[in-house]
Symmetry: C4
Subunit: 257 residues, 4 copies
């Protein structure tokens, strides 16, 4: 596999689709929030993304080989269909971030998607009981509309950059004729793995943006289940990295990568 | 050479071919086991794989230049032809693992292969006189069939991941219409180079899976011969890395790779 | 995005265009000088360059997502049209330097550009009140012409190499049928961010080379404004790198890159 | 520039061409020996090779920008035409070695070349007044022929590997229908830059292999001249690496490569 590949299992026809992206990151807020939407909306998987820029190992899960991937789900909505993108990981490689983001945007463009919303976290170092949801957009006219829904756009001073998929997918969206919004849930940023409170705050904003209703009462319970899986995945990644290190004599190879 | 290349020397027609992969790794179990099969079955080489992601050096062996490679052998069986893949090395590069695995699977798909079995080792830190052979598969229905042959699938708790070719070849096989099985021979994982006991355990399982008979009595002797070659290769790799280091002023280049 | 891309917004027809390049570097002299020309000449943007070899993050600037890029501006001159290339960053990757330079030169060749002038800094470690402008060219016959304009070509002894875009764009220009000149403003090279004095020295030379008049009296004021933006960008880059480090467990990943 | 490129300036028709390669390496023996042949035979340049895997900087040499490159020269011989390949550098990147070697071999195949001889050094740690010339080949039948000319093939025990271009060009030559010979001049391997004695030993062997006569009496003088240039290039590379380090904040970037 030379390049990031998206394997399409079904080809649904989409009506004004909006893509919501929740990949692992600070507080795993995107992953939890969009993962919950997939579950609560009973969204259906229709495509998978594999990348040579993901870690070169597989996981074993209930006897079965699980290959690291991102997954595209869809939900047929009233006004807009939703494409929900979740996944096991982001790439570990700076160039890989551009490749993966480019492949996703190309794919979304191909299925007629004109809008992307990525969900991430903004680590403040402090615990907030009522986390703010910060936003940033690709077009200025979007600001006033989203401000009314409770998104805080006053962040230039505080948040300088967004690293990785959440930022780059929106940052490059314009090149593919797609408009973008980043939603960042305020979170401590401490190395705790999941922050359901921030995820809930983002989901409440998403409900307004999408003009949809879905139940959030099962969030805590679902987050707990996801939490265990995510913790396993993360600890496994750490183990695998160490194993890689031992096998390949990492110290000798450092200058070779 | 910009990409991994497979050079085909002969083009045999295969009857329901199954590919068995034994590349260097923990305990070199795959390499020993499949290398022994190549020898014992008098399998014939029909293709070679070269990769820009292998180490950039050549070995000198009996006056001759030996370029690092993987080799495809075939054996005409009764029910199934076998494609045996062995080699000098795996790639040292995470992205390279995906490229090499992808090229191999593409090639196998092209020759009509529908099943791949990779052989590796699982390091427990303990010496076992009767090593267990662990397994993992791409499709759930395969589990019950292989359990009967003595493969232990109860490993999620113990083995989190499989790093490198053994894992990735099976993990990506589905994308190429191939079903996969990983066999992991229980071994200490200490930096001893070869573990013939674990290799024998895996070979006994392979005989059942393939419904084939071949003599294992010469294994110890063959492993000893291979052991010397492998030890030379490994020590040469280490030397070469150091030489690379000195020539290229590795310390200055570390941040450049 | 697999490769560096240049997105063309308008396609002006150019009359004997000369490209002047000012990207971030030592003393940010090129960036300030050419940035000032863009402003003073009211040059118009007509293309943008994005690269997978730029940092994998976006900036937030006045509510809006800003993706790292280089920008092409044009100015319709009397004898020569000007193509002014400025940008947020250079690549952090050695191979990326070649890719970005190659893409720019290919693009310039495509719009009929036959000459490129890159502007950089030469750090002497000393403060100079009247900085020398050093030069180097791709064709020997250019030396005498430019010497008359006050460029010092006597630098082989002092300046051994030019690292990055300023050097490589000129060094590879010949392969694209373009002749090149590097201008290096003498500067301290201390980690201060901008050196308007050296930029002014270079601009005075550029006025002679291009046989153009433009006012330099607003340079200090503009440099101050740019200085703030550049400092923000640089400090943000530093933050982002640290954030990347924390998120991706940089220490574990070092040997993986 | 995305890939290594060979720019052909003239297209001579070759009669049974043999390519002799002398690139920088241990003792710079190949570079000196083949560089001397270029000079002594008044060979003519007909092509240049540039690579994104070379260092991303240019040198300044007598007012002019010098871009790192390899150069192809030709000499019309009686029985065989010669293609002489010399250059400023090898790549610093393992994958780059494969790309550059592959491009060279593809090019040689294209001009009808069926044989390649690479010249390198073998560092023994000891000073030898009459250095041995070691050899290794791609085809066993070549050994006896070359043994008669004084090449020592008894090296498996001593020389395990050949790192970089000298080895890989021969190691991959078979894939391009080219047969290969590596000549390694015995040298101390201490960080002195040039070893004319070993170069002379190799040149004496080359004269026999090629059945040619050329004067070696000016070797010392020429090596001295080359020595100065090479030392400048090497010291410049070191400086440039440090400069790169400072500019790009190497320490922060280490895990990014």
């Amino acid at each position: 596999m030379l390049e990031t590949r998206i394997i399409v299992e079904k080809k649904p026809k989409f009506k004004n689709p909006i893509c919501i992206v929740g990949l692992p990151g600070i507080g795993n807020i995107g992953r939890i929030a969009v993962g919950y939407m997939v579950h609560e909306l009973k969204a259906k998987k229709f495509a998978e993304l594999y990348s040579p820029y993901f870690f070169p190992f597989v996981m074993i899960n209930n006897n079965m080989i699980h290959t690291l991937r991102n997954e595209f789900y869809y939900y047929k909505g009233k006004k807009n269909d939703l494409i929900l993108l979740i996944g096991d990981c982001q790439t570990y490689d700076p160039k890989g971030h551009y490749e993966v983001a480019g492949k996703i945007l190309e794919f979304l463009k191909g299925v007629g998607c004109k809008q992307i919303i990525t969900v991430g976290g903004f680590g403040t170092g402090q615990v907030s009981e009522k986390p703010t949801v910060y936003g940033s957009v690709t077009e200025n006219e979007m600001v006033s509309r989203y401000k009314k829904m409770g998104i805080d756009f006053d962040i230039s001073g505080q948040i300088g950059t967004i690293v990785g998929a959440s930022g780059l997918l929106v940052g490059l969206s314009k090149l593919y004729g797609i408009r973008g919004l980043v939603l960042l849930g305020e979170t401590t940023g401490f190395p705790i793995i999941t922050d359901p409170t921030a995820a809930e705050a983002v989901l409440n904003i998403l409900k307004k943006i999408l003009d949809m209703k879905f139940d959030l009462s099962k969030l805590d319970e679902k987050v707990k289940a996801m939490h265990d899986f995510i913790r396993k995945l993360e600890s496994i990644q750490k183990q695998a990295m160490e194993q890689l290190g031992k096998e390949k004599k990492a110290d000798d190879l450092k200058y070779i990568g």
